[in-house]
C-alpha cells in the first residue's frame, strides 16, 4: 500500500513536468504578447520591458530559468498584476475556490448518494421516476443556465438570498448549489445504478434471509459495494467542479482563481497561465491519487503491490 502510494507520487512528478513544458511552449508560440496594447509601445520601451522580465533571452534559456525558479517555489512575477508575484495572486483566490469547490463536492456526494439509494430502493415507483427525471434534468442543464435562473428566482424575485459577493454564509448558498447541482445529478444516477446492482447480489439476499433489519443491510452491506463507482467518479468530478467554478465565479462575481483561467490566457500573462495550470493539474492529480488509495479501503479485493 505505502509502496504503491509512493510509486504513484513518483509518477505525478513527470506528468506535471510534461504538462508544464507543454503549456510553456504552447503559450509562447501563440501569437501576441503580454505587452500588446491598443497603442503599440515604442520599440525601445518594449525592448526595455521585455529585458527586465527576461523575455529577450532565447526561449530555451527562458524555459530553463523558469523551471529553475519553479523548483525553488517561485512562479515569477505576473505580467498584468504588476508588483505582484504569481503565487501571491493565486494565494488570495485559492482559499475561496477551494471552499466553493469542496463544499459543492461534499454536497454532491451526500445528496447524490442519498437520492440514488432512495431511488434504487423504490425502483420503478413514483419516487424513483421523480428522482431519475430530476437527475436527467440536472445532467442536461449546464450550471451557467442554472445559476442565472436560481439568481432570478431567489435573489431578484423573492430577495431571499444575495445575488453576488463572498464572505457571509448566505452569499455561499447560490454559488454552491449552482455548482453542485449537475454533480448531484451525476452522482445520483451512478449511485442508483450501482445500488440496484448491489441489492441484487447474493450476500445481500443472504443478509436479508437472516432477517437483518433493512437499514442495516442497505447502510452497511449494500452501501459498501455500491459506493465504488461513485468513488471512482470523484476524480472527474473534481475536474468538472474546477471547470464549473470558472463560470460560477464569473456569474456571482467571486474573487476566486477561476477568473484567472480565462483572463490570464487572453492577456498572455505567461507566468500567471503557468501558475494556474500547475495548481489545477496538481489538484486533479493528487485527487485521483487519493481516490485510488481510498479504493483499497472500501474494496479489500483491490490490492496494490
Amino acid at each position: 500500500m505505502l509502496n504503491y502510494a509512493f510509486k504513484r507520487i513518483l509518477t505525478i512528478i513527470p506528468t506535471l513536468f510534461a504538462i508544464v513544458t507543454l503549456t510553456f511552449f504552447l503559450m509562447r508560440i501563440a501569437p501576441g504578447g503580454p505587452f500588446d496594447e491598443e497603442r503599440p509601445l515604442a520599440p525601445a520601451v518594449l525592448e526595455n520591458i521585455q529585458a527586465s522580465y527576461g523575455l529577450d533571452k532565447p526561449l530555451i534559456e527562458q524555459y530553463f530559468i523558469y523551471i529553475g525558479n519553479l523548483l525553488q517555489g517561485d512562479m515569477g512575477p505576473s505580467f498584468v498584476y504588476r508588483d505582484k508575484r504569481v503565487h501571491e495572486v493565486l494565494a488570495e483566490g485559492l482559499p475561496i475556490s477551494i471552499t466553493l469547490g469542496s463544499t459543492a463536492l461534499l454536497m454532491a456526494l451526500i445528496i447524490g448518494v442519498l437520492l440514488g439509494s432512495i431511488a434504487a430502493l423504490n425502483q420503478n415507483k413514483k419516487t424513483d421516476v421523480f428522482i431519475v427525471t430530476f437527475a436527467t434534468f440536472g445532467i442536461t442543464t449546464p450550471n451557467y443556465v442554472i445559476a442565472p435562473i436560481l439568481t432570478l428566482i431567489f435573489a431578484l424575485t423573492f430577495s431571499i438570498l444575495p445575488a453576488t459577493g463572498w464572505g457571509s454564509p448566505s452569499q455561499m448558498v447560490l454559488p454552491v448549489i449552482s455548482l453542485a447541482l449537475p454533480q448531484i445529478a451525476i452522482v445520483t444516477r451512478l449511485m442508483r445504478g450501482s445500488m440496484l446492482e448491489a441489492l441484487k447480489s447474493d450476500h445481500i439476499r443472504t443478509a436479508r434471509a437472516y432477517g437483518l433489519p433493512m437499514t442495516h443491510v442497505v447502510g452497511k452491506h449494500a452501501m459498501r459495494s455500491a459506493l465504488l463507482p461513485v468513488l471512482s467518479y470523484l476524480g472527474p468530478a473534481a475536474a468538472a467542479l474546477m471547470t464549473g467554478s470558472i463560470v460560477i465565479e464569473q456569474i456571482f462575481n467571486l474573487p476566486g482563481i477561476g477568473r484567472y483561467f480565462v483572463t490570464s490566457a487572453l492577456n498572455r500573462d505567461y507566468t500567471m497561465v503557468m501558475g494556474t495550470v500547475i495548481i489545477v493539474a496538481t489538484l486533479v492529480l493528487v485527487f485521483n491519487l487519493i481516490v485510488d488509495l481510498l479504493y483499497t479501503v472500501l474494496d479489500p479485493r483491490v490490492r496494490y503491490d
Binding site: 506528468t15 510534461a18 504538462i19 507543454l22 503549456t23 504552447l26 503559450m27 508560440i29 501563440a30 501569437p31 501576441g32 436527467t136 434534468f137 445532467i139 442536461t140 442543464t141 449546464p142 451557467y144 443556465v145 445559476a147 442565472p148 435562473i149 439568481t151 432570478l152 431578484l156 475536474a239 474546477m242 471547470t243 470558472i246 463560470v247 464569473q250 456569474i251 483561467f261 480565462v262 490566457a265 487572453l266 498572455r268 497561465v273 494556474t276 495550470v277 489545477v280 493539474a281 486533479v284 492529480l285 485521483n288
Partner: protein, 381 residues
C-alpha cells in the same frame, strides 16, 4: 426484407426464412424504447429547423430593428398601431419634410407632406421610410400644382417576433435557429474528428498489441491527466477566434475515450472464434477488419458518438458563455444564454428560450444515446 436466400449454385433455397441481423434486432429494440424514439424525432426536427429555419425565417440573424429593441415575445404582428406614428415622424424628420396629415388604415398608410425648404420634393426621400423597417412599397406622388407638397403611400410591413427581440433589436427566434445550427455543426465536426482519430488509434493499438500497444496507451493516460478545459482555452488563444479550427482541435483532444473503448473491443474481437476462423480460411487482414471488426465495433462507436455530441455542444456553449467562442454577430446557444442572463431581470424570456432550447437538445441527445446503448449492448439481452 424480401431478399431470397441462395444456395451455393445460386438457386433460391425454399422454405428458409432470412434471419434477423444484429442491426435488425437493435433497431427493433430501439423502436420499443419510447423515450429514445421521441428523442430521435426531436433531434430530427431540431436538425431540420437548424438547416432550413434561418433561410425561411423572414428575418436575418444579424438584422437590427432599431425601433423594436427588447420587444416581448408575441404572436401578433409589429408595428403596433401606436408605434406607427412616432416611427413615421422620426423618418420624416430625417427626410427633412413636414407632415400635414396622415391616414393610417390597417395595413397601409397615407402621409401628406410638405418640404421644409422652399424646394421641390426629392423623390429619393422614400428611402428614409424604407429604412424605418416597417414600410414596404413606398411611393411618393408629388402634387401637380405644388412641387413642394406630395403624398406618400406605403404598405405597412408586418413583422413578427415570436420569441421577441434582443437588446439590439434582433429577432430571437432566428438567432436561436442559427445558434442551433452552429451548435450542431460544431458538435458533428468535433465528434467526427474524435471518431477518426480515436477509432484509428484504438484499432491500431489493439491490433498490434504488445509493447507498442502499451506505449500508445501510456500516452493516452498522460493526456488524460491534462487539465482539459485549460488546454481548450489555450487553443482558443492559439487559433484566435476561429470557432471551427477550435473545434477541430477539441476533436483532437476528445478522442481519448474513443481510443480506449475501441482498443478494448478490438482486443476482445481478435480473440473471437469467427475472426480466427476467417484467418484460418485465409482471409486477408483488410478484409477481416472490413467484414468482422468494423461491423462489430460500429455499435459501440455509434453509442459513444451520440454521447460525445452533447458534451461537445456543452463545451462550445461554455466557451461562448465566457466570450471565447463564436463572435458577434454570429451566435450560439452559449452566447444567447450569457446575454439572456445579463438582461434577465427585465426580459426573462431572453434567458428562458435559449436555455430551454439547449436543455431540450441535450435531453434528447442523452436519451437517444442511452436508448442506443441499451439497444446495441449485447450483454443486456
Amino acid at each position: 426484407m424480401t431478399e431470397t436466400v441462395l444456395t451455393h449454385d445460386n438457386k433460391p433455397l425454399e422454405g428458409v426464412v432470412k434471419g434477423r441481423s444484429l442491426l435488425d434486432t437493435a433497431l427493433l429494440r430501439l423502436k420499443r424504447n419510447r423515450a429514445a424514439m421521441v428523442s430521435l424525432w426531436v433531434i430530427i426536427c431540431m436538425t431540420l429547423a437548424a438547416i432550413i429555419g434561418p433561410t425561411i425565417s423572414s428575418h436575418s440573424y444579424d438584422e437590427v430593428y432599431n425601433h423594436f429593441v427588447g420587444e416581448k415575445p408575441s404572436i401578433g404582428a409589429y408595428p403596433k398601431q401606436e408605434q406607427i406614428t412616432p416611427i413615421t415622424e422620426r423618418a420624416l424628420s430625417r427626410a427633412r419634410v413636414d407632415m400635414e396629415d396622415m391616414n393610417i388604415s390597417k395595413d397601409s398608410i397615407k402621409i401628406y407632406i410638405v418640404n421644409r425648404k422652399q424646394e421641390p420634393l426629392d423623390p429619393r426621400i422614400t428611402r428614409y421610410l424604407l429604412r424605418a423597417d416597417i414600410f414596404q412599397n413606398v411611393e411618393l406622388e408629388i402634387s401637380q400644382d405644388d412641387p413642394q407638397r406630395g403624398v406618400i403611400s406605403a404598405d405597412i410591413r408586418p413583422l413578427r417576433f415570436l420569441m421577441g427581440t434582443d437588446q439590439n433589436g434582433r429577432d430571437l427566434l432566428t438567432r436561436i435557429l442559427v445558434s442551433l445550427r452552429i451548435s450542431l455543426m460544431v458538435g458533428a465536426l468535433a465528434t467526427g474528428v474524435a471518431l477518426i482519430i480515436g477509432v484509428t488509434y484504438g484499432a491500431v493499438s489493439g491490433f498490434i498489441g504488445g509493447n507498442i500497444d502499451n506505449l500508445m496507451m501510456r500516452f493516452v493516460d498522460l493526456l488524460y491527466s491534462l487539465p482539459f478545459v485549460f488546454f481548450v482555452i489555450l487553443l482558443v488563444v492559439f487559433f484566435g477566434n476561429n470557432i471551427f479550427l477550435i473545434f477541430i482541435a477539441v476533436g483532437c483532444i476528445q478522442w481519448l475515450d474513443m481510443a480506449r473503448i475501441v482498443r478494448g473491443q478490438t482486443l476482445q474481437l481478435k480473440q473471437q472464434e469467427f475472426v480466427q476462423a476467417s484467418e484460418a480460411l485465409g482471409v486477408n487482414l483488410s478484409n477481416i477488419i472490413k467484414r468482422h471488426i468494423i461491423p462489430n465495433l460500429a455499435g459501440t462507436v455509434v453509442v459513444y458518438m451520440t454521447l460525445l455530441i452533447p458534451r461537445v455542444i456543452l463545451l462550445e456553449s461554455f466557451l461562448s458563455f465566457l466570450g471565447l467562442g463564436v463572435q458577434e454577430p454570429l451566435t450560439s446557444l452559449g452566447v444567447l444564454i450569457a446575454e439572456g442572463a445579463r438582461y434577465m431581470r427585465n426580459d426573462p424570456y431572453l434567458l428562458i428560450f435559449p436555455a430551454l432550447t439547449m436543455s431540450i437538445l441535450l435531453f434528447a441527445l442523452n436519451f437517444l444515446g442511452d436508448g442506443l446503448r441499451d439497444a446495441l449492448d449485447p450483454k443486456d439481452r
